[in-house]
């Protein structure tokens, strides 16, 4: 069976957990911006976590099913409708042949995920993840995002409807974007100090953790720019070094850029640390204008939290 793309909206792409083993050649990993939501979409259908899903940015897209099948929807609330009836994310549903799954504008968060039974997409370098800059991945194996007229192949299977327990749905996806922007309560983003952290002045480090930073309009799968009180970078030129996922670069003008799934593999700006893996998905769901506050976490603590998240999907 297949899912036909009627309207691709802002941007829809095939993603998985990422493309590993080639970063030494400058090939980034790509992968789902909200890994937790991607994993849940697959879990709701009994798929392996590495099965590709369709990642939707912001919505305004529509799809049609060519046969009766189950599908799951997780992540951002993009005002989804199945044949015109509103449906909620973090659940699996049954669609009949000819049914239309359509999305409005983003209500909570930015990235939603559609899983299909054993969704199939060709792989390159062992991953289906779409990375436009690297011209890798996706249905056409050249990094192009989904277009109207594309057909996504999947197995035809109907399973009992399932849903993510409410306690496991992230709190940051239960507040609407407009509530979030009007209340201006900052989201806590946890970070592990590292890289050049010790080279920053005490004042710069204190500014970084005591002030709110606003998500800029310049956000992409590669990086999220933030605006706020300037964090003075060390007056040192560093040789370019390898970039870890979630690295927080401080530019010459003192503003942070958090490097996301399509990060460059090597870079030269000073880094004050890396945000934790769980905070990466949380930040990915923050719309421009949202406030964040950075809070320090130890590597051990961040590992324990990541381990607890991964354990949900083991076995």
């Amino acid at each position: 069976m297949s899912l036909n793309v009627i309207k691709a909206g802002i941007s829809c792409s095939v993603q998985d957990l990422g493309r590993f083993g080639n970063q030494h050649k400058g090939i980034t990993t790509g992968g789902a911006m909200d890994e937790y939501a991607h994993r849940w979409a697959n879990k709701l259908l009994g798929n392996n976590p590495s099965t590709p899903t369709i990642e939707l940015l912001y919505g305004l897209a529509s799809f049609q099913f060519t046969a009766t099948t189950s599908f799951a929807l997780t992540g951002a609330d993009l005002n989804a409708q199945l044949n015109g009836t509103p449906i909620k994310p973090w659940r699996s549903y049954k669609a009949s042949k000819g049914d239309t799954l359509s999305f409005g504008a983003a209500r909570c968060g930015l990235y939603a995920y559609i899983a299909m039974p054993s969704l199939h997409c060709p792989t390159q370098l062992n991953s289906a993840a779409t990375v436009t800059r690297d011209r890798l991945g996706g249905l056409n194996t050249n990094g192009t995002v989904l277009q109207a007229g594309d057909t996504i192949q999947a197995a035809q299977a109907v399973s009992r409807g399932t849903q993510t327990p409410t306690s496991l749905i992230p709190a940051y996806l239960q507040q609407t974007n407009s509530e979030r922007l009007s209340k201006q309560q900052p989201q806590t983003i946890e970070f592990i100090p590292g890289y050049q952290n010790a080279d920053f002045s005490e004042q710069a480090r204190s500014t970084f953790t005591s002030k709110n930073y606003e998500v800029a309009n310049e956000i992409s799968r590669m990086g999220y720019m933030l605006n706020g009180e300037a964090i003075t970078p060390p007056a040192i030129e560093y040789p370019s070094e390898p970039i870890a996922l979630g690295s927080i670069q401080i530019t010459n003008s003192g503003q942070p850029i958090v490097l996301m799934r399509d990060k460059q593999t090597v870079g030269g700006y000073p880094k004050i640390g890396c945000i934790s893996r769980l905070s990466l998905g949380k930040l990915a769901q923050c719309p421009p204008g949202a406030q964040v506050r950075f809070s320090e976490i130890s590597t051990d603590e961040a590992r324990t939290k990541l381990g607890a998240m991964l354990s949900i999907f083991e076995g």
Binding site: N22, P239, A244, V266, T304, L306, G307
Partner: protein, 240 residues
Amino acid sequence: MKTFWANETSLCVSVSGQTQLEENELIQWIISHYPSDIAPSLNDVIPAYSSALFIFKDTAVLNQQALKRTSQKLTHWIESTAQHHSTAQVSFGHVDKIIEIPVYYSSDFGLDLPHIAHEKGISISEVITAHQRGSYRVYALGFAPGFAYLGGTPNEISVQRQLTPRANVTKGSVAIANNQAAVYPSDTPGGWNLVGRTPLFDHLQSTEELINIYPIGGSVKFTSITLEEYNQQSAPEYQI
């Protein structure tokens, strides 16, 4: 030598106190010789000038004691290797391959030639001559597929990167920043100073072709070509 965890799974190793070339040779030795039984625990190893990132598989966090044992074993091995390197002055990791990159040097493409000449108080033709005199080495690959960090730009033309990156740098642009040189393998934003354009990349399309141009540790030479030669070798859309 210094090691730290950059995030939950990424161990960063950096070396210091030697010349950039020695540090880079040591890093390249480390990433090609670390104990083979550690490899199955890793997703990626990214080398750069004087540091390398060992990225463990996510499953490693499910057994933190085992992760600490494995990473300690790696760190100890690297420490003893670095010790050996600095005392015995062993030279590591030379690659014989020389890549020759033909460049059309001109202010049409080399938009920053006047700025470099002005800043260094020399003529544009002296900048061009100095750029070709440099002996370059592939220190790291990254930024984008087919982008190599080439060390060896002579001090007499060494200038800082642009304060604000250009929104678009054309594929094939040859650029310098500090003591580094590079060729932009595709149209991307970029902040390095442009000195000319090479037709070498025009006929390479696929990512697989692009990522195999430079061997890490290999040598690179830039040679001047005329506008006529440039137009003969380049793709129609890049000719002038």
